[in-house]
């Protein structure tokens, strides 16, 4: 009897422990995978850089035919195995960039390098004739030079040369006439801004409505069939998959936004769609927050001759604040993590300078984008995931701090 009970007990606690361990293991390995892939890709330029690479065609300015080679000293700090061109004063190496391409990137540029000063952009456009950027981080595709006999030659990655071969070849030249380079893309400044705009607008639209609805349902509505019907439908709506909200956005909200003069996919359309999608869950959470306020506070307040409104604003809402804040946080996390509803409404293409009325791509949609192509870019996707995880973490901590701050005094025993 006792033995079989012991065994059953062991089995029960053993299986729950196992299940828990499994979940923890899966979570830890996912995060470890993201970290190992994404960490190396993260750097400061990623947050400020453009997503699309910019091609630059540079040549010497009108006055000079070619720029003569000089003699530059290798900087002491430079790793010995990185090729350095003493003729033109730059160091370059082979690497794989954020966009998962094999490239040759500038690691060092001497302040007096002719390439850094006397080259102008030759590509047609409004930048034509401006000084060409020859900076660390830029990738060099091909360099046009004059060899020892004065004949034109071209070297570099385009010609199938490694960084080392390029540098060696340039040592055999006397002057340079132009180059093609690329400012690498893979920066997520645009998606970050899009995400922030979307968070801001979605919460701006949804939170006041959700809070009002929660106040109505929790404190004003009579407990009748109508109220119960509303509650049930809110609960049902909370379970509707987001892609359906995306479709609703494009079919129902789109004409409304269009009537406001915003045509095409836009962050406005996306944030309106998100707001509606968030409403059920925000209402439910806010209602829970309000319900958690002890009725004795309301009684005490009303018994002291406070009006219903005063009771709400002076006692109930402040007491519900932690719960309301976590509803807010939950809403933000949903916006950050959403992709299905946004693909239809804000588009998938990255917008370098997003605005409310333009299309764009949030970080989550970007991940979808990066993983969707023929050659999924795991590394950049992981790096973006890390950024998302970091934002969510920071948000969580902020809310904890705010809640802790408002609650701080409660925990101190005076007497």
């Amino acid at each position: 009897m006792t033995n079989s009970r012991k065994f059953k007990n062991f089995l029960r606690s053993g299986s729950t422990l196992l299940a828990t361990l499994l979940v923890v293991f899966v979570l830890v390995s996912v995060i470890a995978y993201i970290f190992s892939n994404g960490w190396g890709t993260l750097d400061a330029s990623m947050f400020s850089g453009d997503y699309y690479a910019t091609n630059i065609l540079a040549r010497t300015d009108e006055s000079i035919e070619a720029l003569e080679a000089g003699s530059f000293d290798r900087p002491a700090a430079l790793d010995a195995d990185i090729p350095f061109s003493s003729n033109y004063g730059f160091a370059i190496r082979d690497e794989v960039n954020r966009e998962n391409n094999k490239v040759q990137s500038l690691v060092y540029v001497d302040p007096n390098s002719p390439l850094a000063h006397n080259m102008v952009i030759a590509t047609a456009g409004n930048k034509q004739g401006k000084k060409a950027p020859f900076e660390v981080g830029t990738t060099l595709l091909v360099v046009d030079a004059l060899d020892l006999e004065g004949n034109r030659t071209s070297h570099g990655q385009r010609k199938g040369e490694s960084a080392e071969e390029l540098v060696a070849a340039l040592d055999e030249t006397i002057a340079i006439t132009g180059y093609q380079s690329q400012i690498p893309g893979g920066g997520i400044r645009g998606p970050i801004i899009s995400t922030l705009i979307l968070i801001g607008m979605s919460m701006l639209f949804s939170m006041p409505i959700a809070l009002s609805a929660a106040i109505y349902l929790q404190r004003l509505a009579k407990d009748n069939r109508f109220t119960r019907a509303i509650r049930t439908s809110i609960n049902l709506l909370a379970g509707v998959p987001s892609i359906i909200f995306g479709m609703m956005g494009i079919t129902v909200i789109f004409p409304i936004v269009q009537a406001l003069g915003v045509d095409g996919l836009s962050l406005l359309l996306g944030s309106l769609t998100m707001s509606i999608m968030l409403l059920p869950i925000l209402i439910r959470q806010s209602e829970e927050a309000l319900a958690s306020v002890p009725p004795s506070y309301t009684m005490a307040s009303l018994a002291l001759g406070a009006t219903e409104t005063q009771t709400l604003f002076k006692v109930v809402l402040p007491a519900a604040l932690p719960g309301i804040l976590s509803a807010f946080l939950l809403g933000i996390s949903r916006v950050i993590g959403e992709s299905a509803a946004l693909i239809f409404t804000i588009g998938t293409a990255v917008n370098e300078a997003p605005s409310l009325t333009g299309s764009g791509s949030t970080l989550a949609v970007l991940i979808w984008n990066l993983m969707g192509g023929e050659t999924p870019n795991f590394r950049l996707a992981s790096a973006v995931s890390l950024v998302i995880l970091a934002i969510v973490l920071i948000l969580n901590i902020t809310v904890k701090i705010i809640v802790g701050f408002t609650r701080k005094e409660e925990t101190k025993k005076v007497f």
Binding site: D223, L302, A303, Q310, K413
Partner: protein
């Protein structure tokens, strides 16, 4: 005749301002009656919780409601400041005359009524705010903003509630950090700060230990000089100690209402006798 006595009584122990307010109370309640309850019936849906209650609650005295659990003491108490309005299922019939007005009438300014009639609940229920904000709450809700006025009012209320000495250096602390007995005195202070005429107390000491209880009882005895107090209690000894008049209820009926001495020494009804001697309840 009666109120001349009362006025005299007040003169012995109180200041001039008390006499002025005593006089104004006399004007408001010319017969020395704080509440004249007439044919009061109260229903929760179909259930009748109060049956034909008729009683006069005297001004500036302590009236105790006693009776077994569920007999309607709290319900009647909540009628006196219309807190039953908050219970959707409740329905009231009959009149409660207070200052010449029937407070059950739909014209009654409930918010104003509740500033004149304070209430203290069974469980101490301070707001999760500072001690100061708790005590000042009612006044702030009335629109008082002047800091020094609020400070004085809070100090006065806390002194009257016998809490000032313990909290005067901690007014900014959260009220949750106080002990249960201190919290209950804060709740009394919070009601007093509004300078009400009447304080309703629903088992104010049932959540407190004997020492805190006796402090609150002392407080009630002091407060009755200035306020009309109606207290619900399950403690016979408490009713005997603090109250001037006692009402005994049973299953929604008012069985007996008399001076406390009479109720405890010569009850007229056998059910009252059984209850106070502990035969049921």
């Amino acid at each position: 005749m009666k109120f001349m006595n009362r006025l005299k009584q007040n003169k012995d122990i109180s200041t001039d301002s008390d006499i002025i307010s005593a006089q104004s109370a006399l004007v408001d309640n010319p017969d020395g009656v704080a509440f004249d309850i007439r044919d009061l019936n109260l229903y929760y849906d179909d259930f009748q919780a109060l049956k034909d209650i008729n009683m006069e609650i005297k001004d500036r005295s302590v009236t105790a409601f006693i009776g077994p659990s569920g007999c309607g003491k709290s319900t009647l108490l909540r009628c006196l400041n219309r807190m039953n309005d908050l219970i959707e299922s409740s329905r009231v019939e009959g009149e409660i005359i207070h200052k010449g007005q029937n407070i059950n009438s739909p014209d009654t300014d409930v918010v104003k009524l509740r500033t004149e009639i304070g209430m203290v609940f069974q469980q101490p229920n301070p707001f999760p705010k500072s001690i100061f904000d708790n005590a000042a709450y009612g006044l702030v809700c009335q629109g008082h903003k002047n800091k020094s006025f609020l400070r004085e009012a809070v100090e006065e209320a806390l002194i009257k509630a016998a809490l000032w000495d313990e909290v005067k250096d901690h007014l900014k602390r959260n009220a949750d950090s106080l002990s249960g007995g201190q919290q209950q005195r804060l709740c009394i202070a919070r009601a007093i700060a509004l300078n009400p005429e009447i304080i309703l107390m629903d088992e104010p000491t049932s959540a407190l230990d004997p020492i805190a209880t006796s402090r609150i009882e002392d407080l009630i005895t002091q407060l009755k000089q200035e306020y009309t107090i109606v207290i619900v209690t399950h403690s016979m000894s408490q009713a005997a100690r603090v109250s001037d008049e006692t009402a005994f209820f049973l299953l929604g009926d008012l069985i007996e209402f008399d001076t406390t001495d009479n109720i405890f020494q010569n009850p007229r009804d056998s059910r009252t006798e059984d209850y106070i001697s502990g035969k049921f309840g």
